[in-house]
Symmetry: none
Subunit: 458 residues, 2 copies
Amino acid sequence: MQVVLNYLKRNQARFVAELCDYLRFPSVSAQPQHKKDLHACAGWLVDHCRKIGLEARLCPTAGHPIVVAKTPRSNGPRKPRFMVYGHYDVQPPEPLDLWKSPPFAPRIVGRSIYARGSTDNKGQNFAHLKAVEAYFKTGTPLPCDLTFVIEGEEEVGSANLAKFLKTRRAELQCDAVVVSDTGMPSPKHPALTYSLRGIIAFEITVFGPSRDLHSGGFGGAVENPAMALARLLAQLRDASGRVTIPGFYNDIPPLSAYERKQFARLPIKDRDLQKLLGVKKLFGERGFTPTEQRSARPTFEINGLTSGYQGQGSKTIVPAWARAKITCRLVPNQRPSEIRKLVCRHIEKICPPTVRLKIEAGHGAEAYLMSPTSASARAALRALEAAFGCPPVVMREGGSIPIVNDFKKILGADSLLLGLGLPDDNAHSPNEKFNLDCFAKGQAMSAHLWQELSRPRV
Amino acid sequence: MQVVLNYLKRNQARFVAELCDYLRFPSVSAQPQHKKDLHACAGWLVDHCRKIGLEARLCPTAGHPIVVAKTPRSNGPRKPRFMVYGHYDVQPPEPLDLWKSPPFAPRIVGRSIYARGSTDNKGQNFAHLKAVEAYFKTGTPLPCDLTFVIEGEEEVGSANLAKFLKTRRAELQCDAVVVSDTGMPSPKHPALTYSLRGIIAFEITVFGPSRDLHSGGFGGAVENPAMALARLLAQLRDASGRVTIPGFYNDIPPLSAYERKQFARLPIKDRDLQKLLGVKKLFGERGFTPTEQRSARPTFEINGLTSGYQGQGSKTIVPAWARAKITCRLVPNQRPSEIRKLVCRHIEKICPPTVRLKIEAGHGAEAYLMSPTSASARAALRALEAAFGCPPVVMREGGSIPIVNDFKKILGADSLLLGLGLPDDNAHSPNEKFNLDCFAKGQAMSAHLWQELSRPRV
């Protein structure tokens, strides 16, 4: 093992330069004009995997292609088999004027590398590739077989991945999936995430008059769809953030004493969180700590609002329509299809008859939960401790990685969520960054992990 | 008088040809590239006034010039003196692809002339000029002195007109101002508009976190500014459109029985209005008819909403800020500065402490009201009836013409709003038109008006 760790240490500078190449692709999956960039990025990744010594290929899908890369299979006795999942697509970089340097021109400041996709998720999946490279280039035998599955549609809902898993179920069968796409509370608190929130996305459009109307000539005798939308939205949440849609909380079990104790171990203070977010005051559902609110409780969140005139100055109109983009985060036991129905039914019920309502469903995913005390969880915690040199924490995370439920359902495998992101990494925000120590320690964690996971269980 | 009316009748064909010349100037005041066209149009108008027999000149301003044209002053006893106000500038014609013929190539179909500026306002001010021509060319003595003030910046806020009025207060002093820049409900309902709504414009911005946040990582523990804005807005109006800001209605006198009777005489049916607007159902403050709601009652109208992600698909963020563009239409006795204060104070009061609020003031204007039963109003109604051959209506209009308050304040004169536009004239829209019967009857109305207004009052 030491030779692997030494190789990693010796090659950090090159690894960072390679990561910069990876980050230069504007692989924004949500924006059709970047289709070619996604293909180019996937092609680069396949080449890189082959250079390392993996057997890599590009698998086309109805959307963006999936990169599959495997360790060469030996003829000996069957080894444990693990899958590493990641994604090469990134969030849209907008608003561009808030970036201190261009989002696809990586910039290194101190121990941080700034670029869209640096922490989410290119830097994290690249750390695992570098660990495998270290095994291969030092001639160290891997105690397991590995398959990397790095997709290009995670940020738009992984629409084609489930079909891919089903089609190749036999080939992809494994003992566990390893995913580094979550976070850790601080560089001194490496973490295993054992639960994720689910999600439903949808758009609400409220239509009023057949065209924008002169607000002088007609205002007062016609419903303003922007106001109708505001009134609709305002009825869906109370002042503390608790969702007021009947039945929304019905299936949620209470948090156990064990879990609340683990939450309390996490190092983040309310004051620090408030400072980090730049808000005047924290906010959230009564009876829960901020950590619980943002990882173990569901939400109703407006992601965007659009209506009428948005340019400079004023335009005196009653707009023809108004739209809200919404996502609800869900927690274990809330079924997305069921919650979607509850939400739609309630909105339809309270929508006034003076406007026409259209609700368009977007992506959806169940929440995820695995036991934080299982054998594989304990193996992962040992790898974290060895690499980071301090005791790890177990935690829930508020984000969603919809595909982990498919790994469980289709491949029968738990997902070990061993995230390398820090709270101030600005994932999905301008000036996204990735910490280069997390990058290096993540590689070491990955190197240890295959040893720990492959030990005969006791 | 009959000789004047005969002259008008005999010369309609030529008048229409001259109006076409006037309409060919693309005098778009909002677009800097048309500066020369505005000058050319104003120059043509001065020449035309001189040809008629008026003493005309071009008065430069910081913006586009004002045309001033006067009847030659006689040495006899002081006659009543009136001002005719109009504007030779027009709205931008865009979107051009929706025009059935080029906006500055007048086209006559049946009894309509299609061109940008035809109804708003060239056709209407030209009708008044033709009436004066008829007096002069038939040697009929005018019972009053007239001053035409035809400006080039009405469509961009008349920024230089108030200063012009103040500088020439003595010269422009008059007994009433006549403005044909409003509408009539139908060709059989000539109208005197005796009231206009005022306006205040402002923008509300609600700031949350210092940047867009990942809604998975942080959602639940931080207020969503788009939701805070929706909840704020929803508290400012009730379900029927009544503004809930304390004091908003304090200074509004009730509608008199006389006024409500006049409203009820207007020919527009709820069903027709609903069809015209393309809405499922009309809407508005209880206790008032749609006509009253859109002309005699104040409003709180969202003109635009902006927050977070507005592109295709979904972006799972808690946006950093959310903004609403607002205009309130005001009615007589509501003071814009006072209402602005009430609105701001209330919004500041109900804004939650979890977000930061910014309210930016935009333009404002008082409502206008003159007595519909005054001597000059009655004189105007007699002129309308004589010209159109049917009983006129008195009405309020919901739009704002800020300059009429300056006429009152600076010159001390009421404005008689005698509009010749029809509801389907498409003012400010593609395929603007002007009805040639309204043009001809408008000339006759103007000819009668000077007789009626100049009669010794009884």
